[in-house]
Amino acid sequence: MADTFERRINAIRWRLGLPFNQRDGVEMESEWKLLQFNESELEMVSKQLSKLLTAAAYQALTGKIHLQSVVQDEETLRAIWAVMNNVVNEKQKQLLPKISGLIVNALKQQGGQVSSSKQPATRIPTPSSNISNRPPLHKPPSLPQTQPPPMADPPNSVQSPTKSSWKWLPIPDDPDKHSESDARLFDATEGYRLFGARVRGKKHKHEGTNCDDWFECDNAGRWTIVAVSDGAGSKKFSRVGAKTACQAAIKILKRELAEIVPPAVNVAEWNKAISSRDDSGLFLDPFLKAIAASLHSAMVSAYSAVRNAVEERCQQPNSELYFKILGRPIEIGDLSATLLLMVHRVIEIEGVKCDFLMACQIGDGMVGAVRQNGDVHLLGKADGGEFSGETEFLTSNGKLEPNYLNKKTFVSINQFQAMMVMTDGVADDYFPNNDELGRLWSDLLLNRIPDTKVSADTPNATLPPGLSDCDEINELVVENLSRPELKLRSTAKVADLIGLSVADAAKRFAEVSQLGTDELHQFVASDNNAATRLRVWLDTYTVRGSFDDRTLVVLHREDLP
């Protein structure tokens, strides 16, 4: 090991009790005393150190190293931190107390001698008693599509700390009964995968009402089309609006897009086209204008279809059924729903394959795309008033005016890893979207939801050794009231445990997804695919105050890190 940088890192490994390289005739004590790093090495060292510290913390927690051999007393511990403090950058400095806290606590647990610790004790995930003798995962039936068991001990009511009990009531046999949930795989452009799922939210399960969300996807030549809709919660037949709108929109887009071929122009011309709009927001470039026009036609057609759906239900004998339920004739407002449309195509610009995306939306929810480096591009701007819940609908006045739709139409061309369309039920849990959609993708990867083409021997040099294997990582669960036996993982918790900020962890898809879990694969074993895994995840992850129906459609590249 001729390189002195390596030698010094080796010394730190030795001091922390991690595996190190003992060379003949080399006194580790003296190596340690020689520890100094120059300016140019600081960046590298800080990265190394955070990894080593984390590794040490984990190794200590799992009993793989005996901490007493690492630091005998607080003096030494402080000496290490002093060295670290000189070399880590500002960001890492915030993490040091946390990691040192972990080490100190581990020491205490092992009966090590530590006088007063200056660092605040950090919560250590204690292995729960049943981790090691957890019963083998049985294969429960895949998510029920029909009547769930009525009131008696609903699966959702579990020991939440506040002892609240969410009920899971069946969907009534009213007209236009929809299914609890849906999960579908779709064909996609070569090199891509497309899948979607929707689930009934806690609120609707508690009240025994329908899921109001809907989604549809299709392909037209090389175009991929996605439609997602969320029926208004306060409107009794909004689910009909959602379904009708999606199906009608897809039909139009499929027909119109088939004819439209992207021009073969260079980067500069594309940039110009994207940024050239007149005052009303209309694209000046003919290709973009044509795509936008199709999206807008689809919106108009969706509205007509919803109107027809109402008229059908005004005919005898159906009309009486609806009258009984509403106390008055059914009207279009009762089918109010949002509508989000996204179209995708692979285009070649100067020989490079890129993703072309255009989206148009009325109401809330979001269309967003994530790049490999974690950057998020939003293709939408949700409507909203001053207070929450004030959104617009396809059926509201003025939403089909070109002036309005143009301003709700967005385009993006780049190389994306994943492109997602979702209703508010999901968008709201990853807010603000421009910061948080990367975390959503990361959560999907962590739970091994998308089908990936990862090569088995992808080296994982960046995470501490043994991290994936240690039992504690199974505690990285989100609070799960639906299925307490199902252990999900979240980027936020992984970040916390490996000492990164959530924002940082959410950008490191390749690394973080190495810590993924196969729980969902096993849970849906009898019918295991990306869509069914997504459905269970949507139905299970828990966020306080989040009880809306959840719908997510994902289009992603096959070759994922």
Binding site: S164, H206, E386, F387, S388, E392, V543
Partner: protein, 215 residues
């Protein structure tokens, strides 16, 4: 407990604690608030999103409980004496809502529209008209005002809000029913908060016989 960054349903109870409330009535109000709390704590949706605050008014107005989540909420002590400064109460209400209720922004999840339950048993003794008119114009939330008992005047309340109800009397049973209705209204609202069109009228459950809606 980490601060809940999600959308909260802010609920304000504005209660008359003037001299005429002394004795049985204020005791019944105390019981009513207790029952309201217990009731809401049993509702899973309310538990996650409802935040409660209490403003009392007599010769002056004071916020005796700032906006607090249900599990952490401590019932206030209520004592009755003094006059009926309704105007001051309305001004204070406006101020605390401005301060405590989060508005939607690009980086912040806004709260649901606040729910206000105001109860008074007598005639206001201060300058109430201007504050009432200002409040109605501002549309700070859904205000449900209750004129309790035979001495209460509905007219001042009508200046502040469209939704005014009359409570027969200040008997324990009537007040109990009132607070029950408040609780049901909250639960109905927290259940329908998702996607309410901006100016849609609030959906209240039918009141019990002791409460009449003032047209």
């Amino acid at each position: 407990m980490a601060e809940f960054g999600g959308r909260r349903l802010p609920i304000y109870l504005v209660l008359d604690t003037s001299g005429s409330m002394a004795g049985e009535p204020i005791e019944a109000v105390r019981q009513g608030v207790k029952a309201l709390l217990s009731d809401l704590r049993g509702d899973p949706q309310a538990l996650e999103t409802a935040y409660l605050s209490v403003i009392t008014f007599n010769s002056g107005a004071q916020q005796v409980c700032p906006l607090t989540e249900l599990m952490a909420f401590q019932e206030p002590t209520l004592d009755a004496s003094g006059t009926t400064a309704l105007g001051e109460a309305l001004i204070l209400l406006d101020q605390v809502i401005d301060k405590e209720v989060r508005k939607s922004s690009a980086t912040q999840k806004g709260d649901w529209k606040p729910l206000v339950f105001l109860m008074t048993d007598g005639e206001p003794t201060d300058n109430w008209q201007a504050p009432a008119d200002a409040l109605k114009k501002k549309k700070i939330g859904n205000i449900i005002a209750c004129a309790a008992g035979s001495n209460a005047k509905t007219d001042p309340l009508k200046h502040a809000t469209e939704i005014v109800v009359k409570l027969d009397n200040l008997q324990p049973d009537s007040l109990k029913k009132f607070f029950r209705w408040v609780s049901d209204s909250i639960k109905t609202t927290s259940a329908s908060v998702a996607q309410v069109a901006a100016d849609a009228p609030i959906n209240l459950p039918p009141p019990p016989p002791q409460i009449q809606i003032v047209p």
